[in-house]
Symmetry: C2
Subunit: 330 residues, 2 copies
């Protein structure tokens, strides 16, 4: 008797779980052809980003499948947001271990469907293969932006203001909360942080609103200091940051009050997926309106300098040297 809940085969996975996700894009051919054929909008540039997630490295194998789907898609959408692009399509490759059954694919594809609706993207292709190793996912997201208007990391100018969206450090603290390492924090705060870690919010609308307003933009995936470092390195500038100005959530403030050593995790930890960007000083006048239109708070945290270095200052004006430099994938 066949096992009702065994791992489905490659064609079943594609036909039953993935093909319906391509439904709204005729050029995906319901995933029945060798490739998708897409007509980019006239006068627009194509923005392309690829991200891979591996079980045991980027998520936990036992995480709910809909969370894995959400994180996979949102991490790439965050990259598109940092260029100011409007998301459109994605392809997905999935290397499947023996122990994933039909239920898992059902839940995973439902998670993709829900996030597709929320962010207006469509699956247009991919590959499903077997692996003796951990579940491995790779997603290539495509979006569009008016020609010549793409936001970049490398355009920061000396004297620019440095801004961030939302709150910083929740991603890294959320991982601690998932691991039950924030024992002194209320269960509500822990749950808030866990949610921030599990379900990043790509700042798509903000990215689009920063076109014409920001000089340099990056999404915070490696950590505030590391990603500011990427801006400084590619732009050939330095940066001064006022630590007291970095926006923290109520939960992050609570965790920091319990353990001040967590500051370096907040400065260096990854997975926030907020946007970090530099602007003219005059942006301050427009910031509130853009924040409201983008559905996220915006906070100025420092200035771009000609020092070639990143300096972090505490509220006494003393320079602070964080111990943690940022997340590397290995």
């Amino acid at each position: 008797m066949p096992n009702e809940n065994a791992r489905p085969n490659e064609f079943e996975i594609i036909n039953k779980y993935f093909a319906p996700l391509s439904g709204s894009e005729p050029g995906a051919f319901k995933l029945t052809d060798d490739a998708a054929i897409i007509d980019p909008p006239t006068g627009q540039s194509l923005v392309v980003t690829t991200d891979a997630l591996v079980a045991g490295v980027h998520f936990f194998t036992a995480d709910p499948a809909e969370d894995i789907a959400a994180k996979l898609l949102r991490v790439s959408l965050s990259d598109l947001a940092s260029m100011g692009a409007e998301p459109a399509h994605y392809t997905l490759s999935i290397a499947v271990p023996e122990d994933l059954n039909s239920d898992w694919f059902e839940t995973f594809s439902e998670g993709l469907a829900e996030n597709q609706r929320e962010f207006g993207v469509t699956l247009i292709g991919g590959d499903t293969v077997s692996t003796s190793g951990p579940l491995t996912l790779s997603l290539t997201a495509m979006g569009y932006i008016e020609k010549g208007m793409g936001l970049r990391r490398s355009k920061a100018k000396v004297g620019d203001s440095i801004w961030v969206s939302g709150t910083i450090g929740d991603g890294a603290l959320g991982l601690l909360a998932v691991e039950n390492k924030l024992a002194d924090l209320s269960s509500d705060d822990c749950e808030y942080l866990r949610q921030r870690y599990r379900l990043p919010i790509p700042r798509t609308k903000l990215g689009q609103n920063l076109i014409g307003n920001a000089h340099a933009v990056i999404d915070i995936s490696d950590g505030l200091v590391a990603d500011l470092g990427h801006i400084c390195e590619t732009s050939g500038v330095g940066a001064d940051v006022q630590i007291a100005d970095i926006p923290l959530s109520k939960a992050a403030n609570g965790a920091l009050a319990e353990n001040s050593a967590l500051l370096d995790l907040i400065l260096g930890g990854g997975d926030d997926y907020e946007l970090l960007f530099t602007t003219e000083h005059s942006f301050a006048a427009a910031a509130e309106k853009i924040a409201a239109e983008s559905g996220v708070t915006l906070t100025k945290i420092g200035e771009i300098t000609n020092t070639g270095a990143i300096r972090l200052f505490d509220q006494n004006g003393q320079e602070h040297t964080p111990r943690q430099k940022g997340f590397t994938h290995f």
Copy 2:
């Protein structure tokens, strides 16, 4: 003392081995930004395909790294060829096990560079992550085709002639040769078959030349019968194939002479990456010229029917039922 030949870290891999591969595409920003920004040619459609390869499933871990690079790129280029597209860009995600060292990355990236030059494509992005499992590669290839001219699997018509490029069965026989299971064959023939398995030749030029000439096109990756089945299923037709007309290499003919049971492997085995296509009868008059222009032989092997089934006939007109249905990835 640091191990000179240890696995390099993520940033070293990207900067040293992958960034140079993006050099000819300014919109790849030397892989230093969150995404690439590409301007699709005016009036062209974007063709996108994603393929994943896993060590132990699609290649052997001990295979030369340049062969893995070549196969990875060529498998996707074959998908683009089957749509008639001109290849342009690709992104690469790579999940890296502990035991891959700098030498491996050096050789792998040289293999990519060589194939980029040969096929006119450029790396524009990707992701490098760690895995506790086998080396896992996912490649998304992008190409362009004049709007509305993309070739499809689903356009076969009853009465069409069925054609294939090159020779059939070499891929599957090549895998046997790699496994030293073709003991009776000459070492030259074995080496020829091994090479055909290791180094598929995407029929890019042929695909482009089939625009306006072919009704339905697919590349043979799952096997002749399975891929003809994909054409029949998506087109709603059947097919009659004359087995004696299927073009075989000298080496495949030799293997078949030694063991007639290998016929079913030739009919059902995958990895040939030749194009299988259907045309009007009148295509025969143009075939030789198109073959010469495309640098590959073309052979008519049967006809599209209204039977809804694939029938294979031997030289006595008897129907042959193969035992092997084609390659599934698990």
